[in-house]
């Protein structure tokens, strides 16, 4: 196997060539913050929280940057800390994230991230957009107020379930997750009611109907287990 040696935060390690810096760092016990990344889904490098400084080059997204021989990676610098806090602040400013009345309170990756990056208050003014809630699906709901557009739901539905119910509509600040051809979720025939999108949602945007605060069953880790199981069953190609 082709391997390469690199240094991440002064820890020397050797990984298989082509391993992403995010995974390489995890091997070294360093958890780089991320929101859009999820093991098992194609990385998109969209949330920019996993930015790291590589040698003297500008920040690179660790989820889509392959480890290379002799690389020197810094995962926690003043610049990166400021970028990360700013990004989380931007997300809080952009949506309507009211933890106290959110189903995901206590089990929310955005909330955890805010604590992690030291966001004790938001320096950016809130935008308080007018957003809708889609409760047309018999089992699940989608609250656009809490969506951070990580596109995990889009990818899991397309890549794992193969239904491609979700996509992103519009652009810029008007971006919105859409079901089918921007239809009510319940009206989209291709939805198989599998609930994978709900499981991978980092916030309370996608949720089981009927659940309330405290019992938000978000289990992003189950995706990796599912894919492992599938691979075992299918055997080598």
């Amino acid at each position: 196997m082709n391997v390469c040696s690199l240094r991440i935060d002064d820890r020397a390690l050797t990984v298989a060539a082509g391993t992403s810096l995010l995974l390489a760092a995890r091997r070294a016990g360093i958890v780089i913050p991320s929101l859009c990344h999820l093991d098992g889904l194609t990385p998109v490098g969209a949330c920019r929280l996993c930015l790291v400084e590589v040698d003297t080059a500008g920040p690179l997204a660790a989820c889509v940057t392959a480890a290379a021989e002799g690389m020197r990676v810094r995962t926690d610098t003043p610049l990166l800390r400021d970028i990360r806090r700013s990004l989380v602040e931007m997300l809080f400013s952009e949506g309507n994230h009211t933890c106290a009345v959110c189903i995901a309170d206590g089990d929310c990756e955005l909330q955890t991230m805010a604590l992690r990056v030291g966001m004790d208050h938001n320096r950016l003014p809130g935008r308080f957009p007018s957003r809708t809630v889609d409760l047309s699906h018999p089992l699940f709901g989608l609250d656009h107020n809490r969506c951070i557009l990580c596109t995990r739901c889009v990818r899991v539905c397309d890549e794992v379930e193969g239904a491609h119910v979700w996509d992103v509509g519009w652009r810029g600040e008007r971006c919105r997750i859409i079901a089918g051809l921007d239809q009510p979720w319940g009206a989209v025939d291709s939805c198989s009611h599998c609930g994978k999108c709900v499981e991978v949602c980092p916030t309370g945007a996608l949720f089981h109907k009927g659940s309330c605060g405290g019992d938000h069953p978000s289990h992003p880790e189950r995706l990796a287990a599912l894919l492992r199981g599938r691979r075992r069953q299918e055997g080598p190609p």
């Binding site: 998109v44 920040p59 970028i83 990004l87 952009e94 935008r127 557009l149 652009r171 810029g172 600040e173």
Partner: protein, 553 residues
């Protein structure tokens, strides 16, 4: 052009002059010429003398004087404009056509239009050939633009189109072509200024049976219309460049991606492709060789970000036009997963010229600019790289037309910045402009006079980037919103020194954290105006704003 015996009227029917009635002018003049020829033939009982040729051509240059009309007669060419003419397009066309008919009638059966050497279209003013706007140009990319009828392949062939492609086919040595491009030092003309030869080499080195060549014509910077001019004026030059590139890198299929806002360019490129296919310059076995190269047009759907190469690839594939992280670069994995060579319109148009002239004569090459704003003479011009901005703006453009002095020149659109009047002696090349905190960009030059509020200008460009952000990554999607809000707050005189500091901090976050070039360069117009015109920002600060209000007892 050596049209010794006959005479010709060339009327600009490209988008700019067309909007001022260029096409009407051409039609009316053509009718007048035909009628005059018929009359002459009847009178002389001769077998129809050939009518004066009236040709619709691409851009003639000084668009601000449009509609433009060139009269070729007796070995001289005179260019006329109608800048001071207030008449409607139709009234003007009728007046000029009547004048033309009268003139042709007066000379009876004389060879068509040979006596037009002294004719001045009524209401027109002469733009002398030694006018700096014309005389200081070096037209390589635009060599045939304005001379040939872009809808007629024969016209282009007579002027030398596809001659270099034939030479390359006869030589059949792709490595030599790439070496020549590399030796020339040609850099991408779309804004990023990446060495073209290096890109070609990377694509040529990729394994794989199928490769693609893509021409990026998604020109979207406000005030930029160079690529439109090239596509409208000489589409065959671009197609020839693409075909040569395809041979060099081993591609068999190509796309010309043109934004939907350029309907005339789209129509002319489509027509040019069809004509070239009929004559065997595109399609299977081009020029009778063993190589094939097919080209199709893809029309954008109105997103600025699709000028970014990975977003453009997604758009060609029929997907949502959002960028993706690089690597892999398109050279490795581009459209439909195939190694893809993406170059700008002007870059491809440079290829046949540089192969014909050779590196020595070609030199550093040229750059096409579109000059707009309050200058006396604006339009499309092509000058040697390294010409000073002052020469372009003050000598060729004639300086300010508004009576107010020139304050700055905006280059590079929403990804670029401003060159203050004090630095106008900067030579136009990528390195010099980058040192000033702006970009050469794709070639849009917007002149700003002393009446321009630079903070307002920064807010305009930030609003543009906010509107055009694809929304994929957080810093660009949310950061451009926050930056525009802060600028509006300053403009409303509600901002404080803390807001200004926050503005600069957020600029750093957006430019260093964004996924693609659009986000990374979105703060540049703001940072550039802050660098050169900081007092305008500080003058807007409000010391009282943000202070707690005194509570009345």
């Amino acid at each position: 052009m050596s049209t010794a015996a006959t005479a010709m009227l060339r009327v600009c029917t490209a988008a700019g002059c067309r909007s001022r009635g260029g096409e009407q002018l051409r039609r009316h003049c053509a009718t007048a010429a035909t009628e005059a020829a018929t009359e002459a033939a009847t009178e002389a009982m001769a077998a129809g003398a050939p009518p004066l040729r009236v040709k619709g051509v691409g851009c003639l240059g000084p668009c601000s004087d449009g509609p433009l009309l060139a009269v070729d007669a007796e070995d001289t060419t005179r260019l006329f404009g109608f800048a001071a003419d207030q008449a409607s397009g139709r009234a003007r066309a009728e007046r000029v056509a009547a004048g033309l008919q009268q003139r042709l009638r007066a000379t009876g059966s004389a060879p068509a239009g040979a006596e037009l050497g002294t004719w001045r279209p009524p209401g027109a003013h002469l733009i002398p050939a030694d006018d700096p706007f014309l005389a200081l140009q070096r037209r390589l990319v635009l060599e045939r633009c304005g001379l040939i009828d872009p809808g007629e392949l024969d016209d282009a062939l007579a002027a030398g189109a596809y001659r270099q492609l034939r030479a390359v086919l006869e030589q059949d040595d792709p490595a030599a072509v790439i070496a020549a491009v590399q030796r020339s030092g040609l850099r991408g003309r779309g804004g990023a200024a990446y060495p073209t030869g290096l890109k070609w080499q990377a694509v040529a080195a990729m394994a794989g049976q199928r490769k693609l060549v893509v021409c990026n014509g998604d020109e979207g910077d406000p005030g930029a219309f160079m690529d439109r001019t090239v596509l409208e004026g000489d589409p065959h030059g671009v197609l020839e460049g693409m075909a040569i590139a395809a041979l060099a890198v081993g591609a068999d299929h190509g796309f010309v991606y043109v934004r939907a806002e350029y309907p005339l360019a789209i129509a002319r490129v489509r027509r040019a492709i069809a004509q070239a296919q009929r004559r065997g310059w595109l399609g299977t076995a081009i020029g009778g060789s063993r190589h094939g190269f097919d080209v199709e047009v893809r029309v954008g759907a109105g997103a600025y970000v699709c000028g970014e190469e990975t977003a453009l690839i997604h758009s060609i594939e029929g997907r949502r036009g959002t960028p993706r992280p690089r690597p892999p670069y398109p050279a490795e994995r581009g459209a439909f997963g195939l190694p893809t060579l993406i170059n700008n319109v002007e870059t491809f148009a440079n290829i046949p010229v540089l192969l014909r002239l050779g590196c020595e004569v070609y030199g550093r090459g040229t750059k096409v600019f579109s000059l707009t704003g309050p200058v006396r003479r604006g339009g499309v011009l092509e000058v040697p790289l390294g010409t000073s901005l002052r020469t372009i703006v003050e000598t060729m453009g004639g300086g300010s037309a508004s009576g107010r002095p020139i304050k700055a020149v905006q280059t590079g659109g929403p990804s670029g910045g401003c060159v203050p009047a004090s630095a106008l002696d900067v030579p136009v090349d990528d390195a010099s402009l980058r040192a000033l905190g702006t970009l050469l960009g794709s070639g849009g030059l917007v002149v700003l006079d002393a009446g321009t509020d630079m903070v307002d200008l920064a807010a305009f460009f930030m609003a543009f980037s906010r509107e055009e952000s694809c929304g994929k990554c957080i810093p660009c999607r949310c950061g451009t919103v926050q930056l525009e809000l802060l600028l509006r707050k300053l403009l409303a005189r509600r901002g404080t020194a803390a807001d200004l500091a926050e503005l600069e901090r957020l600029c750093a976050v957006v430019s260093s954290a964004s996924l693609c070039g659009l986000g990374q360069s979105a703060p540049r117009p703001l940072l550039s105006t802050l660098r050169h015109f900081r007092p305008e920002y500080t003058a807007l600060l409000n010391a009282e704003a943000g202070q707690p209000q005194a509570v009345q007892p």
